[in-house]
Each structure stands twice: as C-alpha cells, then as structure tokens.
C-alpha cells in the first residue's frame, strides 16, 4: 500500500466531528461564563513572598537569640579560623607564662622557708632534743607503777 493511500485513509478520520448541538450549547455555556481573572493567582506570589520573608525573620531571630550563629558561621570562614588559631596560641603562651611565674614564686617561698629558723620541725638537732624528752617521760610515774602492781599481783 502506497503512502498516499494511507494518508487518504487517515484523512477519512476528519469525518469524526462533535455534534453541532453539542458545539452550540457548549460554546454558549462557555461564553456565558465570565472570564474572571482569579485574584488568588495575582496574590499568590505575594503570599509566597511574605511567607518566605516571615520564615527568614523567624530563622534569623532564633539564631540571634540562641547566640550560636556567629560561632557557627565563623567556623565556615577560613579567616575566622586563622584568627581563632592565633588567639588560641596566644592564650596558651600566656597560661605558660603565668604557670612559670607561679612556679618561680613557689620555689622562692620554699627556699625562704627552709632558711627560716622558725621552722624548727625541720631542724635535726631539735628533733633529737624532742626525742630525749620523750624518753625521759617514758621512765614512768611511780604511783601508777604501784597501782598497777596492786591490781595485777
């Protein structure tokens, strides 16, 4: 079958048409309805814009109130990270200096205490004197010895 014949066959489908009564009633019905332009479609972009703005304000408010915004955003910026690192190094150095100062002070105080005579408990001679005193006292009380002998024997 030739292409022309097929096309001729297809063209027969043109006989399929809507009934004239339908055409007439449908057209009259459509044209009787107002071509009203929906206000909703006009305002829709405004609605969407206002919702977006509201969401943005709420989001920013939450960030500002929580106070976590600056650190969160700073962590994303290389410049801020560098600054933070430099600040960290400085603070470590300052802490080391403070520790060294306190250590030196402690050593000085210790040396002063050692050289001081008031701290007799560290003096060997004093300790020996105290030991002798204890030995003397350990010789006992005769009354207590007598009472003990009475009880025991």
């Amino acid at each position: 079958m030739e292409k022309k014949e097929i096309i001729q066959q297809l063209e027969k489908l043109k006989s399929i048409e809507p009934h004239w009564e339908f055409q007439d009633s449908s057209k009259r019905s459509i044209l009787a309805s107002s071509q009203s332009f929906s206000l909703l479609s006009l305002w829709r972009p405004l609605y969407m814009g206002s919702f977006a703005a509201l969401a943005l304000v709420i989001g920013l408010s939450i960030i500002l109130i929580s106070g976590g915004g600056s650190s969160a955003y700073a962590s994303l910026d290389m410049g801020d990270i560098k600054d933070e690192l430099e600040e960290l190094t400085i603070s470590i150095e300052l802490e080391e200096i403070a520790y060294s100062e306190s250590l030196n002070e402690a050593v000085a105080v210790a040396l002063q205490e050692i050289s001081n005579d008031s701290l007799r408990h560290l003096n060997t001679e004093l300790l020996l004197t105290e030991q002798e005193k204890f030995l003397f006292e350990e010789e006992g009380n005769p009354e207590i010895d007598e009472l003990l002998n009475t009880v025991l024997f």
Binding site: I6, L10, L13, I16, S26, I30, S41
Partner: protein
C-alpha cells in the same frame, strides 16, 4: 482579521472573538480527545472543559512564537491525563459508526464511510498514543511539524521519525486487516 488580533480581542474579554476561536478549533480538539477516550460523551465533556479552561485562562496566554492551537492541544492533553487519573473505566468505541452515519445524508455512502472510518480507526487505535497524535495532527488536522513538536514537547526531528514509523505500522496493520477481511469473506462464502 488575523488570528493574533482575534486572540488579543478575546484576551480583553471579547466573547465573540473567543467564539471564533472555538469554531475554528473545536473539531480538531474533539478528535484529539476522542482518540484517547474513545467515548463520544466523554470526548464532548472534555472538549467543553478544554475550551472553558482556555477561556478562563486566556489572559495568561502569551504568544511565544508557538501557534494558538498548540496551547489548546496542551490543555487538551492535560485534561485527558486528569480524566484518566480520576476514572479509567471508559472504553465506549461503539458510538463511532453511529456518529459517522449521522453526518452523511446518503445511506449507502454513509454505510461505506462508516465501515472505512471504523477500519482505519481500529488500526490507529493499535498504535501508541504519541504515534496516534502525530498521525492525527499531521494528516487529519494538517498541523506543521513545528506545531506538533511544540504540542508533544518533542523535537521536529523526533516528530518526523515517529511519523515515518507510524505510517509504516499503519500500512502493515491495514494490509493484515485486509487479509483478515478477505480470509473471513472466503470462509463465509
């Protein structure tokens, strides 16, 4: 009056202008829908919906170098999709011969034409939806490849390929259909 001027008038709310557009395109939009729903009643309902939507949203129509018919076909396409989304229990093809008969005054011509139309229609229905649309738009409604490509959202090259394949399919189907018809006639004789 040029079509673009008629459209402008219709956009301004001139119902008479829109009536002219309706008269010009109602048949081809009806056919386009009818081939998809295969029911006269549904095709009429959906055609009405298409033109009602077009009338209501005409102010939003912008001429971008595409013909007005493409815009109507797009509305029709979406309307048919919505129709099948909501209900898919319509396969009333029986109305076709009756419909064709009602258009023709001579009884013999009417019968012959009815049989011919039914034959080609049954063949077309065996093609996929895109091929059906391409053949219908190209050879029944005489749309250009550009108009068809815009409507079906395909390139003009793709439309040419679909058209070529669809014609070949129709030829094969018609030949088989003819042979089956001859076999039937022979057996009956």
């Amino acid at each position: 009056m040029k079509e673009s001027e008629i459209i402008k008038s219709a956009k301004r709310g001139d119902s008479e202008a829109f009536g002219r557009l309706y008269d010009q395109y109602v048949s081809q939009i009806y056919r386009f829908i009818y081939f998809r729903v295969s029911s006269k009643t549904d095709a009429e309902d959906l055609t009405h919906q298409v033109f009602l939507k077009a009338w209501k949203s005409l102010k939003r129509y912008k001429e971008k170098g595409h013909p007005f018919s493409s815009w109507l076909y797009r509305i029709a396409q979406n309307t048919v999709v919505d129709f099948y989304r909501t209900s898919r229990s319509h396969q009333d093809i029986e109305t076709l011969p009756e419909q064709v008969l009602s258009e023709n005054p001579n009884i013999e011509d009417r019968v012959d034409q009815s049989i011919e139309v039914e034959r080609i229609h049954s063949v077309i229905r065996q093609l996929d939806e895109t091929s059906q649309s391409v053949l219908l738009m190209k050879f029944v409604d005489h749309l250009s490849n550009k108009e068809i490509s815009v409507t079906l959202e395909k390139s003009e090259g793709a439309i040419r390929v679909i058209q070529h394949r669809a014609l070949k399919q129709v030829r094969d189907l018609l030949e088989n259909h003819g042979e089956e018809g001859n076999h039937t006639t022979t057996r009956e004789a």
